[in-house]
Amino acid sequence: MSNDVDLSLLDPILKKYQSQEGALITMLQELQAVYGYLSEVVLTHLSREVKVPLSQIYGVVTFYAQFYLTRRGRNIIRVCRGTACHVRGGSRILEAVEREVGITEGETTPDLEYSLETVACIGACALAPTMVINEKTYGKLTPKKVMESLSRKDRKEREVE
């Protein structure tokens, strides 16, 4: 799989930030936007080009929650674990999602359909408990609403296909 990575996609990003001090995090963000995740091949190439040791890059990538070293699902489910959501039953929402899609937090389904993550707070506390699927926020959830929104999503997608 690693061989078919198109490394030329890196060039414009490298060019843009070449002279900028401390642009590593911004570069990683843009690389991830292009490739979907940060593979070893991409990071090794980056390390050579910007002359920063791979170990240091790895240190930065693993420090921040938003960088991913493995491929992620087509749909990203983020369940909010903020305080307001916790107080209004957020842990039961996470359990319901886990039951519905059959994976636990931090995992991706084998068919790459879903990745399940938790976030510290999405800042929509008045709608607690909440989750976000891709870009859409679902608020005032109950375990039942979770089941409905996930199965409705599936149905819609099947119709599209």
């Binding site: 929650a65 960088f67 707070c121 709608l127």
Partner: protein
């Protein structure tokens, strides 16, 4: 309120303001705006009615919100289906749609005007002054409310020293949590020698349960930029950064737009307002690390490194970003600066208490009737905030605690409700202002579980650099976890307190120094709850899964099949006329049965600290009912 009392303007231009804050956007407010624009065009009234977007009004609980000016009529929980009626009745026939008015939860009375709603009437909005009233995507709206006047006043009429003096005199203290004097901070940096100083806006709002920085950046980005340029002028900086959480894409988008417009209007960039002062701003998106809210960690993150804090001194004012003198201010502090310059230090310092001047913004959430963003003068009591503005606890539940200041703050009990809140009174009570998260908890919240929740957050976000925080929080979390699992032992509470004090005293940065606060305050105010868990294996609030069981009271069960059908693991057994019984071995304690059992039956109980009663015998389980009875 009867319709006749609602005055509707009959002439002039009317503005329909649709909230596009994050809360309302997630309940389809962009579609409502689109439908309004389309409908108004179709009706041919576009020349007298204008549709405008605004940022967050703070009353997210009632979203999506639509306001019609100049009359100030407030419509809440609007849907796309309501749009034709608003256009036909209100905009064309001048008759407001009473059905969409806000209803006072206490009196049930409909309230037509924005300013009459208790939630707003009892607030004093200084930092949030423009939020919800102006379109954050056009600079003209900001200019129309006096925007960039303060910058003009500072740059053309005041020396940097005079600006610093004014801010010092105002008594403004940093709204990021610690409450250090903003003016003094600027003075340090101003007095540090050398060119190449940096001015940084900290928008890395990581506290779960706080969203005020996000709302300000989304609803009024220019006020933050204006405050930042004034600060840069005061300290003598030519370059700055706004560090925003990457989880806030809308805030980033509106900031970029605002920066571009500010540059076009000569309020940022080269030769600002025609003077010799130059200042450039970059936006840096965070990559998801809570600790980056800490000053020195944030600087490391901008430099492209792991966001780990370093010991101070040297303070950033002496040696900050790339070794240059740097000032870091919170979004709310910067948004306050233009008002202080415009209206003067005397006006600002007349608000608030002796040592905490001005207002405080809180994100009021949890089990409370009116969730949202609120602003009150320092010195307001918790009772005023929770009951007068927040509308109290819904569903007839009793108040238990209020958590203030997020993972760094503490849980305060009912006895603290009359406490006038400011920076110092909160620290005295064991909590802190923090970023201003205020989460209300009712009787169904377990305080041990709450402490465990916050600690699991801080433990997870601990960067690992210093030992007390890395290992101390881990050990504390292990103890709390075992208590919630019913495996706590005598001496655990004392051990927790000992560890907490150590971690507090010896951690390197604010994260570790404040992480024990939720544990210490819950032990201080709710010690009996810890003891119940440890001694009697009982969770009085019925939350800790290992210590509870769900049970259907056979005397109350109407065999209605609702819980039986909805149980996700098919653990409920019974039939149409057969009283339902939960199979305790299959039950995953998800609580679905409790939440779906109709309140008039109220048959599902949470049992803790005692054995589950045996199910009734087969003959006792049959329900005989007359026709039409039951479901």
């Amino acid at each position: 309120m009867s319709e006749e009392k609602v005055a509707v303007s009959t002439s002039g231009m009317r503005v329909v303001i649709v909230c596009q804050g994050t809360g309302c956007v997630s309940s389809e407010s962009p579609e409502i705006r689109e439908a309004l624009e389309k409908g108004i065009a179709q009706q041919g009234i576009g020349d007298t009615v204008q549709v405008k977007l605004s940022g967050c009004h703070g009353y997210c609980e009632q979203g999506p919100i639509v306001i019609i000016e100049p009359e100030g009529v407030f419509y809440c929980r609007v849907t796309r289906e309501d749009v034709p009626e608003i256009i036909e009745c209100h905009l064309k026939n001048k008759k407001p749609v009473e059905r969409l008015f806000y209803r006072d939860p206490g009196t049930g009375e409909a309230v037509a005007y924005y300013n009459d709603i208790a939630f707003y009437a009892k607030q004093q909005r200084v930092i949030l002054r423009n939020c919800g009233h102006i379109n954050p995507e056009t600079i003209d709206d900001y200019l129309a409310v006096g925007g960039y006047e303060a910058l003009r006043k500072a740059l053309l009429g005041m020396t940097p020293k005079e600006v610093i003096e004014e801010v010092k005199r105002s008594g403004l203290r940093g709204r990021g949590g610690a409450g250090f004097s903003t003016g003094v901070k600027w003075e340090f940096c101003h007095n540090s020698p050398g060119p190449g100083k940096y001015m940084i806006c900290n928008g890395d709002e990581g506290d779960p349960g706080a969203f005020m920085d996000r709302s300000i950046l989304e609803a009024d980005p220019h006020s933050v930029i204006e405050g930042m340029v004034i600060a840069a002028y005061a300290i003598g900086s030519g370059e700055g950064y706004i560090y925003v959480r990457a989880e806030y894409p809308l805030a980033v988008k509106r900031l970029r737009l605002a920066l571009k417009q500010a540059e076009e209007h000569g309020c940022i960039g080269e030769r600002i307002l025609g003077t010799d002062f130059n200042f450039w701003v970059h936006i840096m998106e965070g990559a998801g690390a809570f600790v980056c809210g800490e000053e020195t960690a944030l600087l490391a993150s901008i430099e492209g490194k792991r966001g780990m804090p370093r010991p101070r001194p040297p303070f950033p004012a002496q040696s900050g970003l790339w070794g240059k003198p740097t000032t870091i201010n919170n979004v709310k502090s910067l948004a306050t600066v233009p008002v202080i310059i415009s209206r003067g230090a005397d006006w600002y310092s007349s608000i608030g208490t002796e040592k905490s001047k001005g207002t405080a913004v809180f994100a009021l959430t949890g089990t409370i009737a009116n969730s949202g963003l609120i602003e009150v003068p320092m010195g307001a009591t918790l009772h005023q905030i929770i009951y007068d503005i927040g509308g109290g606890i819904p569903r007839g539940k009793a108040f238990k605690a209020v958590q203030i200041g997020g993972p760094s703050g503490g849980c305060l009990p009912e006895s603290a409700l009359d406490l006038p809140i400011d920076f110092d009174s909160l620290s005295g009570a064991g909590a802190m202002m923090g970023s201003g998260g205020m989460v209300v908890m009712d009787e169904t919240t377990c305080m041990v579980d709450t402490a465990r929740y916050f600690l699991s957050f801080t433990q997870n976000e601990s960067c690992g650099k210093c030992t007390p925080c890395r290992l101390g929080t881990k050990r504390m979390l292990e103890i709390l976890t075992r208590i919630t699992e019913g495996k706590g032992v005598e001496g655990d509470i004392e051990l927790l307190v000992e560890l907490a004090e150590e971690v507090k005293d010896s951690s390197l940065c604010g994260l570790g120094q404040t992480a024990p606060n939720p544990v210490l305050t819950t032990i201080k105010y709710f010690r009996d709850e810890y003891e119940e868990h440890i001694r009697n294996h009982k969770c009085p609030a019925g939350v800790c899964k290992a210590l509870i069981a769900y049970y259907i009271d056979p005397g109350k069960c109407q065999a209605c099949m609702i819980c039986l059908r909805q149980c996700p693991v098919e653990a409920i057994e019974g039939g149409k006329n057969l009283i339902h019984v939960i199979d305790q071995d299959k039950c995953t304690k998800c609580g679905t049965c409790l939440s779906v059992c109709p309140p008039r039956f109220n048959a599902v109980k949470v049992i803790s600290g005692e054995p589950v009663p045996l199910p009734p015998s087969a003959t006792e389980r049959e329900v005989t009912r007359a026709r039409g009875e039951g479901r």
